[in-house]
Amino acid sequence: MLSKVIRRRPLALGAAVLLTMLPNPFAPTIGIPYALADAASAKAIVDAAKAQGVVGEQGDGFLGLVTGSADSAVSAAVAEINSGRAAVYKDAAARSGVTPAAAGEAAAKQIFQRIASGQYYKPMGGAWTRK
């Protein structure tokens, strides 16, 4: 596949040389889910908060607080899921040769399609919107 790219675009290798200078190590891939045991309870808390309009999905692929603040249990659950997602994005990014931020945006595109109506989402550069 690489040789095909090189043949088609002579500058591709130059770009590849530049890319190797960026801090973008291809992490070893592991096949286990990142979520641990209490991620399930974090999800339950977040799902309830989403239904109440307290938590929503952001365009960067992370959960956010729609109102800007929430009680500590909700904040902790959001933080836990977000850290799990960060690990997932880092891995997917390494496999695809992009930045974790790009992987988060790609995930947000798919997450937005799964948002139940009545719940909130915030596109990149936009405001919280009710679906």
Binding site: S3, G14, V17, P33, M124
Partner: protein
């Protein structure tokens, strides 16, 4: 043989240009705008990334809405 020659004729200029660019630009340009990092990716990279992300979402039902 001609295939190999053709390959090197493509690889070498790419290598030289890459080295030249690396020499001219000691600082790595960081994308400032938070918007559209994804949109600026090559189409083939986007396809691969979408596939990776989709399977990651499905493998982590506790982290993502299914």
């Amino acid at each position: 043989m001609t295939n190999q020659l053709w390959r090197w004729s493509c690889v070498l200029p790419g290598f030289i240009v890459g080295a030249a660019l690396a020499g001219c630009t000691p600082t790595v340009r960081v994308e400032v705008a938070p918007i559209n990092i994804y949109a600026k990716l090559d189409a083939d990279v986007r396809v691969r990334l979408d596939r990776e992300v989709q399977s990651a979402i499905q493998q982590n039902p506790d982290l993502f809405p299914q």
